[in-house]
């Protein structure tokens, strides 16, 4: 019983369909389940919302169009028109993270963005993709990134490793921000929810707090999806418009 009430029990990975390929455990877990649910929810939200595509949109279609325009403007403001080919990727990333965060707020839900494996994998793909784009676009010129012009030659042995480390730390700072926010928020929510029962009649105070915190968590779900997206855009901008 004690384990079930731990504030961290919500992050536990459960194997729903155990699977094994060689030595690698590829079980279908509750995390995979939530990711598939997220993809289905996002797809049906967008496809069903646009099925009538009326000239004067209804409520649902308005939301779909707003989310499209929101990301399109974000991309235009940060990257410019050169970023347009990458819009599908940016938009998918945003919707996936956002709906993943929001579905995690459901009772009995599971927040896959609260696991660093998930966020780091996403950040790694963004990082590799952006680096490859930069290399293909600028060829050898890309490597001047690590040795800016105007730096004296004798500084190179010191500067180049530092610049490389600085560049490699990007996916970490990108993923840790999303993961830590989700993890901390959900843990806090659970801890305070535990106080409600423990305090009996006085539990009304933490109950109000949990209500407020739930609202804050929903804001954070939006904010972190937005931050993840805008950072992806900024990295893309760096790759396309090399200094």
């Amino acid at each position: 019983m004690a384990e079930g009430h731990s504030p961290l029990a919500q992050f536990e990975i459960k194997r729903l369909i155990p699977m094994q390929i060689g030595d690698i455990d590829v079980s279908f877990t509750n995390s995979s389940m939530m990711m598939i649910t997220t993809v289905i929810v996002v797809s049906s939200f967008l496809i069903l919302g646009m099925r009538r595509s009326a000239l004067i949109p209804g409520r649902w279609q308005s939301i779909v169009e707003l989310s499209y325009i929101f990301i399109a403007n974000l991309l235009k403001d940060t990257v410019g028109s050169a970023g347009r080919p990458y819009f599908p990727f940016i938009f998918s990333t945003f919707m996936f993270v956002l709906v993943g965060n929001l579905l995690g707020m459901m009772p009995y839900g599971f927040t896959f963005t609260s696991h660093i494996v998930v966020t780091f994998t996403m950040a790694l793909f963004v990082f590799l993709g952006v680096t490859l784009i930069a290399i293909f676009k600028h060829k050898m010129h890309f490597f001047t990134l690590f040795m800016p012009p105007g730096v004296p030659m004798y500084m190179a042995p010191l500067l180049i490793p530092i610049e490389i480390i600085s560049y490699l730390s990007r996916p970490i700072s990108l993923s840790v921000r999303l993961f830590a926010n989700m993890l901390a928020g959900h843990t806090l929510l659970k801890v305070f929810a535990g106080f409600i029962i423990a305090l009996g009649a006085a539990g009304i105070a933490p109950w109000f707090f949990v209500v407020a915190l739930t609202g804050l968590e929903i804001v954070i779900a939006f904010l972190q999806a937005f931050v993840f997206t805008i950072l992806t855009c900024l990295y893309l901008n760096d790759a396309l418009h090399l200094h």
């Binding site: 990257v79 050169a82 990134l145 970490i172 830590a180 900024l234 760096d238």
Partner: protein, 121 residues
């Protein structure tokens, strides 16, 4: 009559939409938006912490890997922890001084304006 009204209403809406669409191209907007996103001292502080620590972690990992490869344990790790610390400070410096996320030593805004100009429909 209703139809006619609707038509002029739509035209009006179209004109307003076009006007609204042109506004985001204002180059001053770009900077303001980015700054708003950064807003909130707490999130800035959190970012500074993450930037500092992640660079040190990467430095340590590189040093450890090189040590294992070259068999020079523990010297390269010690060197790379310090380099990682330096990279972390550079990251934070760039974050704080408005260089954006780009490596390099030029201000981000130098050419940002020209890019957003070309982003018309």
């Amino acid at each position: 009559m209703i139809n006619k009204n609707k038509h002029s209403e739509l035209n009006d809406l179209g004109a307003r939409l076009n006007k609204a669409r042109k506004e985001p191209n204002d180059p001053t907007r770009h900077e303001k938006d980015i700054n708003n996103e950064k807003g909130g001292a707490l999130s800035l502080a959190f970012r500074v912490g993450v930037e500092l620590i992640s660079a040190v972690a990467i430095g340590t990992a590189i040093g450890w890997g090189l040590d294992n490869w070259l068999g020079t344990r523990p010297w390269l790790m010690l060197v790379f922890i310090i380099l990682g610390g330096a990279a972390g400070v550079i990251n934070v410096y760039r974050l704080a001084s408005g260089f954006g996320y780009a490596p390099g030593y030029r201000k981000d805004n130098d050419d940002a304006g020209t890019h957003s100009d070309s982003g018309g429909d």
